[in-house]
Structure formats: structure tokens, C-alpha cells
Symmetry: C2
Subunit: 300 residues, 2 copies
């Protein structure tokens, strides 16, 4: 079943203890769509770039057969993020954020995308996430992501959005900040009250938790020998989750758990190199192999 | 099969965000033995207390049918630890440590304990751990725990000990400090070179990892609605692991994984109240129920 993702496309400048890169392909919609595309053949992307966006990156996404019918080229420069990771990969230091064309982004969903069954509203202003959702016709599952900034600065819009969300992706600190609870179980209960029936709390290198009704699933992280650059891991994870669900076109305890396992496995490829260098170079058998390892890792 | 534990018995004074307690029963040997006793009926304890050690705590352990033939009453006061936890339960602040009788502890293993098949050398000076081990006759499995202090201050003795250890329990920061590696996979490889064939890295609220040859097992933590006091969780975990292994009397991939799951479940009881108040009040059906929940939590 078709997937729609609305999010950012970016040029990232990143420094980690292992090296640095300059103005490489990034953005939530990018990581998400490349990851989801391994599972589901119809991935529709809505995002905005500037006139300076390198054609080679457009070609890369075309080659991955992601539908770019919703990729707008705005007046001005592409969104840029510059950050640095220390040894603690969970907390990057943002050096600079240049919104550029993203500042005026007003996503228009192409007519042929409006019936996409699986919708992922990546981390952008909740005001825009609401506007996107208003354009959609009868989606089967609506998921979204957010970030601390929106929880602090666009709470009202976010709360309005959450009433219409089926599956909410957020990380530990976001869950705690949104609900004012220090325990994740209590935080999940608080989020349930805001609307979403299913919640995935991402714990980075420590795995992920799914809350769905009374059921909780605790997925351990895939153990990596080394992490090179964690940028995009969360969106790649969401891409694996949503791609799997769209392919199965069935939402229940079993498919959700298996979707999280796929998402976890996809994220491991994202963190092995800068940008989408590794994620863009793998094939389905690489995924199958790592999935098999993950099962071995967690079976008892 | 019989278990021997050599470790500390303590009077703990603890403050957490939820309350405080004064001079309550604690110590590695205490938590370990009470936990292990749920799985294996022969748990032999070697430790030292002072003349001031409350008889009610001795009675408590007797009632749990832990063999106290190796409990020495030394001249002087019982070991005391005073600590405070903030919201981050992984790092207590030590307010005071009074070694008292523990300073001169020179464990003598009673003749009838020397043939214990499963040996756990809880966190004490590695010099003493070596002395204990030298007294044992043909154990089937020798496990030990340690702490950052010994890694920094008794490295030579610890390295000497590790050559004779089958199963090494340590936490993330200890694994990294001992080996100088930031990745846990690399740290485990470094520890393998020091002797132990099996390593359990404890990640607190994030679960535990087992490394055994080429095989890795990643056990998620049991998700708790609230943690009251994490003191003793690691020793309770080790008690569950060793108790299960001693009962099964078989060391392979399956029993080790299942042992870690038992250890994880036991630790959840330790953290629900101060001291052994909760751990000492549960029965086997409480454990079975929580084990069932854990399986549900992690199955996919």
C-alpha cells in the first residue's frame, strides 16, 4: 500500500569523533523514504529544496525509485543543518540551523498522493503537519514524529495534531517533556490520553518500546561494533516500521512488533557512515542477513 | 547444585527522590543469596558482620533458609554505606563508606563449602576474591563481579583473578574502563582476552548483554512503572542468573539466556522498595507471573 512522507530534505555538515563531512544529503524525508522503499514500492515524497540542491542527490532518490512528484524547488537555498557529536552519540550539539526554503514551506499534496494509505508526518512544524493531514483522503494509518522544540514552542498545534494520529514516534526525552512524567510507562499513558492509540518510544542505542493498548513490546537495539554517525537513525527506523506495515497492510500486535524489528535493523545501516552512503548502498539480502542476526541476538 | 557466595553484608542508609531509610539490611552477599535461593536450595554464604549487626536480619536470612555457616562476626562494627540517588538512578552519590569489619575481612571458606559447584565472588577486593578461589575444590562455574574502584586501584590483582573466572559480571562503564574501549562489542573482545569465556554486561534499566564465544544475547530490561531504590539490583540479578544455572546444572547458550531473563526478573523486585523489603516478601508465583510478562514484553 502506498506511503506518503512529508518532511525535510537537507544538506548536512557533520563532525563526529571519527571524521567530518560537508553539505551531504540529509533530512527526515530522505532517510525515511530510502528506508521505507526497501519494503514498499510506492513511496511518495513531499518536501522542499532550494535551487542550489545538487542534481546528483535528486538522481540518487530517482534511482531508488522514490516518487518525487511532491518535491518542490523553492526560491532560495536548501535547508542546512550543522552539528557535532561527541562520544555520547545521543546528544549532538547544533552548530547552525539555516531553515532557508523550509521557513516558507507550505506543503501542497499532489492530487495523486492524497489517497496514500500510510502517512508519515516527519518532524516539521506541527502547524504544517496539521495542514498536510487536512488534505489527505481516508488514510489507513497516520503516523508522526516531532521534536523537543515543537513540544516547547508549538504545544497547542501539536496537541491538536495528536488527536488525529494513530501511531506516534517520539524519543525518551520528548515523551517525558510532553507529559511531565519521568517513567516511560506513565509517559505512555499520558500520551494515550492525547489521542494516539499506538506509541513508539525510541531509545537510541538502547532499542525501542511499543505501547499499544495494554500491550508493551521492548525491542533491544541491534548491537553495533561501532557507530559512525547517528544522524537520520530515527527517520530510517520510522521508514522501516512504516514500510513494513504498508507492505503487510495489516496493523496488529504481530505486524507492529515485526515492523519495529525491521525499523531497528534499517537504522543500523544509517549509522554506519555519513549521510546515506551506507543505507543507499545496501540491498535486500543485506537486510535479510542482519534481520537473521537480530533474531539470534534476542531469542531465548 | 550448591552455590557459594562471598561478599558483603551491610547496613545501608539511602535517600532517593521517593524517601529515605536508615541502617537497613544491604550488601552484595545478602541480595545475591536471597535471589539465588528462589532457584537453588543450597546457597552457602560467606561474609562478615560486626557485633552490632541486628539479630532480626540474621533471623530473616535464616528464615529464607540460606546457609549461614560462613557468616563471621568480627570485632567492631558492621560495614555501612550511605548514598543518595537523584532522578538518574544509574549514578548514586556516595555520602559515606565505613568499611569497619570489612576492612580486615579475610574470608575462610568452611570445609563443607569448599566443594560448592557454583561460586560467586561478589564485589570485594580482588585480592580477597583470589584468596577465596584458592580455597575452592573443583567448582563447575566461577563467576565474579567487580567495581570501578578495583579496576583503578587493584588492577593487577583483578587481572590475575580474571584468568580463573568463567563468567564475569560487570556494568557498561566498568567494561569500558577495564578495556579502554568505547564500544561494548570491542570491550567484550578485550575482556575475553583476559580470561573469562562468558561475560554479562549489565546496562541497568536498559537490560543486559551476554557475550559467549561468537554469540551475543541482548536482553531488554523489564519495563517498570516506577523504580523506588536501585540498590542491590545488580547482585539480585546475579543471584537469579547463578541460581538458575545451579538448578539447571548445565551451561549452554539456552540456559545462559534463560538465566539472564531470570536475573532480570529478580532485579525488578529488588528495586520496588528499600532494602530487601519487596524481594524478601515475594514467592515463586510472583516470579512466575513476572517471567510470563517479560516473555510477552519481548516476544516477536
Amino acid at each position: 500500500m502506498s506511503i506518503l512522507v512529508v518532511g525535510s530534505m537537507a544538506l548536512d555538515t557533520i563532525k563526529t569523533p571519527f571524521g567530518k563531512c560537508r553539505e551531504v544529503l540529509g533530512g527526515s524525508a530522505t532517510y525515511f523514504s530510502v528506508s521505507a522503499r526497501f519494503f514498499e514500492s510506492h513511496v511518495n515524497l513531499v518536501a522542499v529544496v532550494g535551487k542550489d540542491f545538487p542534481q546528483k542527490y535528486v538522481n540518487f532518490l530517482k534511482k531508488k525509485r522514490i516518487d518525487l512528484g511532491g518535491l518542490e524547488v523553492g526560491k532560495g537555498k536548501t535547508f542546512r543543518w550543522e552539528g557535532e557529536y561527541g562520544w555520547d552519540f545521543s546528544n549532538p550539539r547544533t552548530i547552525a540551523t539555516h531553515l532557508n526554503v523550509l521557513a516558507d514551506f507550505d506543503p501542497v499534496i499532489p492530487e495523486e498522493y492524497k489517497r496514500s494509505k500510510y502517512v508519515f508526518l516527519a518532524n516539521i512544524d506541527p502547524h504544517l503537519q496539521n495542514k498536510v493531514l487536512a488534505q489527505m483522503k481516508n488514510p489507513a494509518l497516520v503516523a508522526c514524529d516531532t521534536m523537543n522544540y515543537w513540544i516547547g514552542h508549538r504545544r497547542k498545534e501539536l496537541v491538536r495534531l495528536l488527536k488525529k494520529i494513530d501511531l506516534f514516534f517520539l524519543n525518551e526525552s520528548e515523551a517525558k517533556e510532553l507529559t511531565g512524567e519521568s517513567s516511560l510507562i506513565k509517559a505512555a499513558k499520558g500520551v494515550f490520553k492525547m489521542g494516539p492509540e499506538k506509541i513508539i518510544i525510541k531509545k537510541g542505542e538502547h532499542g525501542a518500546l511499543l505501547f499499544s493498548g495494554d500491550s508493551i513490546f521492548s525491542a533491544p537495539a541491534y548491537l553495533m561494533e561501532s557507530i559512525f554517525d547517528p544522524t537520520g537513525a530515527g527517520d530510517t527506523f520510522a521508514g522501516g516500521v512504516m514500510g513494513y506495515l504498508a507492505r503487510e497492510n495489516l496493523i496488529n500486535g504481530t505486524t507492529l512488533r515485526n515492523a519495529i524489528v525491521r525499523g531497528t535493523v534499517m537504522a543500523t545501516f544509517a549509522v554506519e557512515d555519513f549521510s546515506l552512503r551506507r543505507l543507499g548502498a545496501i540491498n535486500k539480502s543485506d537486510i535479510a542477513r542482519r534481520l537473521k542476526n537480530f533474531k539470534k541476538l534476542t531469542h531465548f
